[in-house]
Amino acid sequence: MPTFVYMTRCDGCGHCVDICPSDIMHIDKTYRRAYNIEPNMCWECYSCVKACPQHAIDVRGYADFAPLGHSVRVHRDEQKGTIAWRIKFRNGTEKNFLSPITTKPWGQAIPKLADVPAPSKEMRDSQLLYDEPKSIRLDDGGLHTLQAAGLTLKKGVVY
């Protein structure tokens, strides 16, 4: 079921609008609070629910598996690098999950695109995507293995 916003908790910061892949979270022009402009286009990806710093966005579960009285809420703690879920069933059963969302401090292990020079016209017109062929080593001959490519499999979540 699509997302909805608790208007009294929303402070109109715009993180949900920024992150929504469907571009359906917008700021209401009169009340300056976020709302889902097109609920039937919502993918239920939970991006906005996780991004909301005020926990003002929630998702109703489907009635067949999530009857009245249930609750599925999430807290994405970026500073700690974790995401926590709390599932409450109608009969009172509660399940808690805590998982990592990164193993390295933010902004250290991902390429900073702002620092990379802008692509030239030839690069834009070519069939290759960003950082290709370097990143996929299609320019080398022989059998492509991680070892041959000078790469090692990293353990953990690398982002």
Binding site: G14, P53, R73, W85
Partner: protein, 270 residues
């Protein structure tokens, strides 16, 4: 200019009793407006209903001492330091506006009821008014979501702007009135009009947020302390018990502060 009580100079044309009566009427309007708002929206009913619900569902009951400690935390972090704001620019603008408004109102009351008040009160009145203007105009033209993110014109006005605009108008016109020599002229009329709108429009404006927001912040802290937390997860990585979880194995050597994720930059990509 900054050391002269503008209300003392005004008493030549307007009786101090009238000015004092006006201040009392404005105070009563705020009380009446807030009470009307509370009854009309049912916010107090909702607040106490939520507190009872939270108490009934709470994993652990809270004692009186704990509630006092939560009230102190709310007052210090959420009220005095505007801790609710995650955007630092909004927080600074709010602090400027809040403390400026408190100084501005307090100094007005002191100078109206005691025309012989020291020059420090006149200076505080100026300082308060300027702080309101700096914080308010910064918010109005650069920070608020309509302008900063939605790209709307800063001159597009809706009902939700009643509080901020009347407060800015009151402070700006008050300062202009005092800077142009005071007295009972056009600037004074405009200043009084803006001030009357500010204090008289409580049921329709966001003026009452200064009473509701601390209550909401207190409730939020209480639910977190008693374990209900509005059904939000309460488990965190800094809890030694949680560090033993299998899922936390990958974060064993990771720093406890990973820095800001998406909050590293303001949301303005839409």
């Amino acid at each position: 200019m900054f050391s002269i009580n503008p209300f003392a100079a005004l008493s030549a044309t307007l009786s101090p009793a009238v000015m004092q009566a006006y201040v009392v009427v404005m105070f009563l309007l705020v009380i009446a407006g807030t009470l009307f708002d509370v009854v009309h929206k049912g916010s107090a009913k909702y607040f106490f209903q939520n507190m009872r619900k939270s108490k009934a569902k709470g994993a652990r009951p809270l004692g009186g001492g704990e509630l006092v400690s939560i009230a102190v935390q709310t007052a210090v972090v959420d009220v005095l330091a505007s801790g609710e704001f995650c955007n630092p620019r909004r927080r600074v603008a709010h602090l400027l506006g809040m403390y400026g408004f408190v100084l501005y109102v307090l100094a007005t009351v002191v100078m109206v009821f005691n025309p012989a008040a020291g020059a420090i009160w006149a200076q505080l009145w100026w300082l308060g008014g300027l702080m309101v203007c700096v914080g308010g105009y910064w918010f109005w033209f650069f920070i608020r979501v309509d302008v900063a993110a939605e790209g709307n014109s800063p001159f597009r006005v809706v009902k939700a702007d009643l509080f901020i605009l009347s407060m800015l108008a009151s402070a700006t016109l008050g300062l202009v009135w005092a800077a142009t020599g005071g007295g009972a002229g056009v600037w004074f009329g405009l200043y009084i009009l803006a001030t009357t709108i500010l204090f008289g429009s409580v049921p329709w404006s966001k003026f009452a947020h200064m009473f509701f927001k601390p209550a909401a912040a207190f409730e939020k802290r209480v639910t977190r302390a008693d374990g209900t937390a509005e059904n939000l997860p309460t488990q965190t990585r800094d809890d030694p018990e949680q560090q033993k979880r299998h899922s936390m194995e990958l974060l064993q050597n990771a720093p406890m502060d990973m820095g800001l994720g998406i909050k590293r930059e303001a949301p303005r990509h839409y």
